[in-house]
């Protein structure tokens, strides 16, 4: 089944839409899906032109395509457990919260909190991601626990904060403090970043650009060669954060 949702013109297009109900499993079982526009509950067809094509017997066979003014739509794919969502433009905050399986493809940019506390599945963002990409909720001990997030552009601050499983791959630059409080999993940064991996207790982070303002609590343990985008690069290997038991690994390209 393929569900195409194209946004209708709205009188106040800046009012955000809370759309945690837009998940493949919901389209399989529910006919009456509601979203919130600001604090008003709306039927799906008040906000979107809805087109449904073909049948589906399981949520795996459901594909949702979002197009139009999608940058103000939040929480798309929250708790998603199967199927596929394709977003033709930008997407609002909290896309793919807690998703456990399936695939989300974003053709534009993603706002903050992309794939927060994700459990599994794949998110692929072809533009940039904002702050807290693949992070945990404020105060939560564990952030993303499984799955893959791939961002082809840049990401903001606190990327993969509290990462405790899975892989976050940022092809461009990151902002400040990527991988802070990381516990397990892998974070790959293709470009530059600042202060990576503060207080990390486990996992691996690789920076193939320049790591600015490296924290002094990392101990150099040698060098290694790693491959990134089919280029072999000489990497400095660090162990840390020694301020917190120091069981993580940070690799930074030799300049």
């Amino acid at each position: 089944m393929r569900v195409i949702l194209e946004t209708k013109p709205r009188r106040k297009p800046k009012i955000p839409i809370e759309a945690e109900a837009i998940t493949p499993q919901n389209f399989l079982i529910k006919n009456d899906i509601r979203v919130y526009e600001g604090n008003k509950e709306r039927k799906l067809d008040e906000i979107f032109y809805v087109t449904t094509e073909g049948p589906a017997v399981s949520a795996d066979q459901v594909e949702i395509v979002l197009s139009g003014e999608t940058g103000v739509i939040k929480r798309v794919g929250e708790y998603m457990n199967a199927g596929r969502i394709v977003i033709e433009g930008d997407i609002g905050m909290h896309c793919g919260n807690f998703m456990s399986a399936g695939e989300i493809i974003i053709r534009g940019n993603a706002d903050a909190w992309l794939g927060r506390e994700m459990r599994g599945g794949v998110i692929r963002c072809e533009g940039n991601a904002d702050h807290y990409c693949g992070a945990g909720y404020r105060g939560e001990k564990r952030g993303m626990r499984g799955g893959t997030i791939e961002v082809m552009g840049n990401a903001g601050d606190y990327t993969a904060e509290y990462l405790s499983g899975g892989e976050v791959r940022i092809m461009g630059d990151c902002g400040d403090l990527p991988g802070v409080e990381m516990r397990a999993g892998t974070l790959i940064i293709g470009g530059d970043c600042y202060r990576p991996c503060g207080n990390m207790t486990g996992g691996t982070c690789m920076v193939f650009g320049t790591a600015g303002a490296m924290l002094p609590t990392f101990i150099s343990t040698g060098a290694e060669v790693r491959e990134f985008c089919s280029k072999r690069m000489e990497m400095n290997v660090f162990r840390g954060d020694v301020a917190n038991r120091g069981k993580g690994t940070l690799l930074v390209r030799k300049q």
Binding site: Y137, R138, G139, E140, K141, T201, N244, R245
Partner: protein, 566 residues
């Protein structure tokens, strides 16, 4: 003249000696009376279990440390969200909910009176402000004296009168209810980076021992004739092998009061560990229960641990630091000037952890092995052992051996080697549960005189009607119904008004705060004592005149005055 008549109620009222009778209860102007007029509003209880309003004699729901728990755990606020509805405010949070969340959830469980377990005197204003925002329960505040410098100086000088004077002045100033000692001496030692490891260790810089502090405070409490006894959180909380400290403490309690216990030991589950490390921790509940059974001057509460997520918060700063060293999660420690300290840490009690399974078993064992239910009260030390919403589950566990056996299958398989729980056959009955959840609390807190915890004419009309029919229900087999029934009252009546119905809160509510004032002779009044005033001005960051809590913070304060016996 608001009148209400509750008909066909299956009443258990232990303080009045009613062990389950179908009767009517008449209410006029918030008080229970002999009979109601013809115009009274009628509630048909249809033979459902009707008890006096529940009383929690040790919970942490208001005050600075609870609030710190709230703001260090934003993730906790994701759970338990309810929308605004009728008179109900928005609520959120699970282990440290908003004040209204606490109030509504307690109210739908039939609780009408709560004792905040630990209020730092210096931070009393905030506690009282949160009390007024907990509108469905009458509130009492245990006031912390464990590291009070003036008290420790009085103990060192062996000046009992002075200790009594400090207690009287402080309680009246901060509108507190009773004396709370949390790890006496230890919390103050922690201010200097140390701790005490037995009741005979010297507190650094003060030259007193916890045993002396406890003994002096017990005697000062009796001099002041306070309604409640000293409320003690023993030393060495959560340390394997700490049952020796607890037994030693219990052994030293004199029997000084015929109306109630002389010492109330709180969350004893955390103080009943054998072994020497976390690897060989075992249950010593049998030893503790034997000591309690042979000493009527002691009352305890369980401090039951239930599995799941919660937040620990206590004035016991050093213990929380040890917990932090185990969990390496976020933590907080706080020092309250010349008085006490505190610590807060989120925890997760897991069935996969042998230590947690042993803790879970000990709480239940204490309740089952203490012969007299008047001596062992039901509590989780909310939220330290578990949030109070788990009370119905604990009641069901105590009432049903089958439920305990079923739970045991889910635990770490080694648990049985370390605890006696699964050999205990006792199943508590409705009467004993009524004692453990309200009557014993009212007696222990000494608030039966102001009409709490019973349903005799003249008592406050705080009533909980549960959708349970004791005649038709076998709690040992149908424990799920027991759990559901105690979780949601059909009616909760507070001061003669229905405040919650079938789990829905129906009125805004307006509670009162109960505090004590000992009428001390003028020579013991510390506000005129030159030395005390001088020290106060010298060491505190606040002026003595700014220290007392003004009446405006207690819109509906109820003062219990006591006469001092010297």
């Amino acid at each position: 003249m608001a009148e209400l008549l509750v008909k066909n109620a299956f009443v258990i009222d232990p303080l009045s000696g009613i062990r389950g009778e179908i009767m009517d209860i008449a209410i006029r102007d918030g008080k229970i009376v002999e009979d109601a007029g013809a115009n009274a509003e009628v509630i048909d209880a249809q033979g459902c279990l009707t008890l006096p309003g529940g009383i929690d004699s040790h919970t942490h729901v208001c005050g600075t440390k609870v609030n710190f728990g709230r703001y260090m755990s934003p993730e906790d606020m994701r759970a338990g969200r309810t929308q605004r509805k009728g008179v109900m405010h928005v609520t959120s949070g699970y282990s440290v909910p908003t004040t209204f969340g606490n109030s509504y959830r307690y109210s739908t469980m039939g609780y009408t009176t709560l004792l905040e377990g630990a209020m730092a005197p210096l931070e009393a204003r905030h506690t009282h402000e949160e009390f007024t925002a907990t509108p469905h329960q009458d509130m009492l505040a245990n006031t912390l004296f464990d590291g009070n410098w003036s008290i420790m100086e009085a103990v060192r000088d062996k000046d009992l009168k002075r200790a009594a004077a400090v207690v009287a002045w402080t309680l009246a100033a901060v509108k507190g209810f009773a004396i709370k000692l949390t790890n006496p001496g230890g919390t103050e030692a922690w201010g200097f980076g140390e701790d005490v490891h037995s009741i005979h260790d010297l507190v650094p810089h003060f030259g007193v021992t916890p045993a002396e502090i406890i003994e002096t405070m017990i005697r000062a409490n009796e001099i002041l004739n306070l309604p409640h006894s000293v409320h003690l959180h023993c030393n060495n909380l959560g340390v394997p092998g700490n049952f020796r400290t607890t037994l030693e403490t219990i052994d030293r309690v004199p029997d000084l009061n015929s109306r109630r216990q002389t010492l109330y030991l709180t969350h004893v589950q955390f103080h009943a560990y054998g072994g020497s490390t976390w690897k060989d921790i075992s249950s010593k509940s049998e030893d503790i229960a034997r000591a309690v059974n042979s000493r009527p001057q002691v009352a305890i509460d369980m401090g039951q641990v239930m599995f799941g997520r919660t937040t620990t918060m206590t004035a016991d700063g050093p213990m929380e630091f040890k917990l932090y060293m185990l969990h390496h999660n976020k933590w907080s420690n706080h020092d309250v000037e010349l008085e006490t300290g505190s610590g807060i840490i989120p925890v997760f009690y897991s069935r996969k952890s042998l230590v947690n399974c042993v803790m879970w078993a000990i709480g239940l064992e204490l309740a089952l092995l203490t012969r007299d239910p008047w001596q062992c009260m039901l509590s989780t030390d909310n939220p330290n052992g578990a949030p109070f919403v788990k009370y119905p589950e604990i009641i069901a566990l105590l009432m049903s051996r089958r439920f305990r056996d079923r739970e045991s299958e889910l635990l770490d398989p080694r648990t049985g080697h370390y605890v006696p729980l699964f050999a205990i056959e006792r199943e508590l009955d409705w009467y004993e549960i009524a004692v453990m959840t309200r009557a014993a609390q009212a007696k222990a807190l000494g608030i039966t005189g102001i009409g709490k915890g019973h349903l005799a004419p003249g008592a406050q009309a705080d009533i909980a009607i549960y959708p349970l029919k004791p005649g038709e229900l076998d709690p040992a087999a149908e424990y799920k119904q027991v759990m559901a029934g105690f979780g949601k009252t059909r009616f909760t009546i507070k001061r003669g008004r229905v405040v919650a119905r079938d789990g829905e809160v129906v009125v805004e509510g307006a509670n009162s705060t109960i505090w004590t004032k000992a009428n001390i002779p003028p020579e013991l009044d510390l506000s005129a004592d030159r030395e005390f005033v001088k020290k106060f001005e010298q060491y505190y960051t606040v002026r003595m005149s700014n220290y007392p809590v003004q009446d405006v913070y207690l819109p509906r304060g109820v003062c219990i005055g006591t006469e001092v016996s010297l």
